[in-house]
Amino acid sequence: MKRRDFLKGSLQSGAAVLTGGALAPVTAEARPNLQPKEDAIGMLFDSTLCVGCKACVAKCKQVNDMPPVTESEIRAWDEARDLSGDTLNVIKTYKNGDGSTKDAENNGFAFEKRSCMHCVDPGCVSVCPVTALTQHEKTGIVSYNPDACIGCRNCMAGCPYNVPQFQYDKPFGQIMKCQMCNQKGVERIDNGLLTGCSEVCPTGATLFGTRKALLAEAKRRMELKPGDTYTYPRGDVSNPGSYHDKRVPTYKQHIWGETEAGGTNVMHISAISFDKLGLPPLGERSACSVAEGVQHSLYSYLALPAVLMAGLSYVVKRNTDEEGEGS
């Protein structure tokens, strides 16, 4: 009788552990978003300045020693339509109606840069099982180490921008992504240079700098009166190589990357709403912070699994002894 009660009790406590396990991730507080690093570096892309020349695409290929993508017989320029194992940076076109007016949502066109946003709270880094993706503690640059990578491609699924790209066409491929020209063997930032794309941009549409200085510049542009003339810098926002004067467009009052999913170090501003430019529907909360909260509430110190294991070992031992044989 007593033993029955004891068994019943241990069964109930086992059920309690299971229920606790089910409820732990629901009730646990997810960690807050990671915060921008003090000296994070990044880029500001101003879509209204981009003329679609793709000098940045060509320079990126040169710096990273990657072949141009050619689709047609023209072979005069890189025809990459999207990021791939051969392309880390691409200029995409927005076109509506007759496409006659630059930066108009209706009957207009605009250009949009697509490259790694170097998230403040990067999903790729969070989901990688083998720490092949890392965020630099000072610069915030998200880099990739092919020697650790197993090719599970969770980073691709975990990236809100579909940035990491696997080289599917190679038998021994790897993930390719923009590492802000600072990867081993390139190290442009460490050597005091700018990223390739911001160095060659003829209009300053891609601007290099610290996240702080770039955010200040973006906010300044939000305040400008449409139709006025503004002196736009080229190259490094804190130390521009040159300037040019241009009429101020009607900016959307939205700096993409200031807060989206914890923010990004590469930010965008535009006269066209960002959903039309193909940026994803993101809230302020980074999805990976929720995933980590769930994971840690279930597995911190393996406490829950250990309790479950101890309880089950006891119950199973009792039950198998009773039967007098194993499996």
Binding site: I150, Y168, D169, Q295
Partner: protein, 379 residues
């Protein structure tokens, strides 16, 4: 004397030969994948990094291999010894499902030649759900081998080893419950970090691990019913229908939990209306719910529960329901944004079919040559 016996009979039957042709085609394309790269065989792309090899072979395949998990709960935790005859065949199916799921994960790995990196502690990222899945599945395959090994030890007559193993087997049985609880729930947690890419009707965030583990148990119980019914038809022996009926009843309870909590969570997240949106996602959601609810109605009736045919239909519906839940969340309604779409290529499908064929072939060989099925005279 063992309570199990080999089924015997010819191995190279006509169905076996047909399966071996499918398997050979699959193996041919797996070799292509290794020689020319994944892009030569599969249609996965920048927006859909995971195709059917991950979603069917690993995510759904291991769910369908949860028979051992479900029965371990029933027999050893809730002490229902009368289910013992079902354990060994279920363990074999689980072992094969998981082993081939592991193989699927391996040939889907982009950098397979350094797969061992996930086992090196200095590489571990404890924030990663994938780390938990990878390590836990690998460990569980080993546990399944140990749990199934008595069949092999009996066959070769290693009684000493068998006795020693039986002394510590309870630890592995307990692990056989703990590990699937862990990684089956984590398979759901994988979806959390994918955020908006997972359709709102499936993106339940913190509730993902709960739905994943409950769907694993539903699939586990229904695969036991399915396999036991088929094997009764094929190999004869006493019908286990009364026993299976009770398993069906447990599955009904799990389905009630799954459906009610799911609807409750969607209501709480203000997304219930989306199921009536009339789009592809809402249609898939309603189909999925129908597949969950239909067997519940069948199995609520005691007469139908004890009717082998009705039971089998209910089990098949549950298997489709659990599989569709995972297919929907990971693939069918997955939307990485404009410019990306995915439909598996023929070679990609052939690889998956080949894996399934190999699984069935190995199951048949082992059942015919090793003491797996329960001895009919005192079942």
């Amino acid at each position: 004397m063992s309570a199990h016996e080999k089924a015997g009979g010819r191995i190279f039957t006509l169905p076996f030969m047909i399966l071996s042709v499918i398997a050979a085609i699959g193996v041919y394309f797996i070799i292509q994948r290794f020689v020319y790269g994944m892009g030569a065989v599969a249609n996965i792309n920048g927006g859909f990094p995971w195709g059917i090899w991950v979603v069917y072979d690993v995510v759904i395949g291991t769910g369908l291999a949860c028979g051992g998990y479900a029965l371990a709960f029933t027999v050893y935790v809730f002490n229902k010894g009368q289910y013992h005859p079902l354990v060994r065949p279920a363990l074999l199916a689980s072992l094969l499902g998981y082993a081939l799921g592991g193989f699927g994960a391996f040939f889907d790995m982009g950098r397979w030649w350094q797969f061992y990196n996930i086992f090196l502690p200095w590489n571990w990222n404890f924030n990663s759900v994938m780390l938990e899945v990878g390590l836990c599945v690998a460990l569980y395959i080993i546990v399944l081998i140990i749990e199934f090994s008595p069949a092999f030890l009996e066959k070769i007559g290693a009684t000493g080893l068998l006795k020693a193993l039986n002394k510590v087997l309870f630890l592995f049985i307990a692990l056989g419950v703990v590990l699937p609880t862990m990684h089956q729930s984590s398979l759901g947690s994988l979806l959390i970090a994918m955020g908006y890419k997972v359709d709102p009707l499936w993106q339940t965030m913190q509730f993902q691990p709960l739905f994943a583990v409950v769907s694993a148990l539903i699939m586990g119980f229904s695969i036991v019913i399915f396999e036991a019914s088929l094997s009764h038809v094929r190999f004869g022996g006493k019908s286990e229908t009364p026993l299976l009926g009770v398993l069906g009843k447990i599955a009904v309870g799990l389905m009630a939990v799954f459906v009610l909590v799911r609807l409750g969570v969607l209501a709480g997240q203000g997304k219930l209306g989306l199921m009536f949106a009339g789009d592809f996602s809402s249609a898939m959601f309603i189909l999925e719910m129908a597949l969950f609810i239909f067997p519940a109605f069948v199995l609520l009736s005691a007469t139908k529960r004890h009717n082998g045919g009705a039971l089998l239909i209910a089990a098949v519906s549950m298997l489709f329901a659990g599989s569709l839940y995972r297919f929907n969340a990971f693939l069918f309604t997955y939307n990485p944004g404009p410019g990306y779409s995915y439909f598996p290529s023929v070679p990609e499908i052939m690889v998956t079919l080949g894996i399934i064929a190999i699984e069935i072939m190995v199951y048949l060989i082992i059942v015919k040559t090793m003491p797996v099925l329960h001895r009919s005279e005192h079942a």
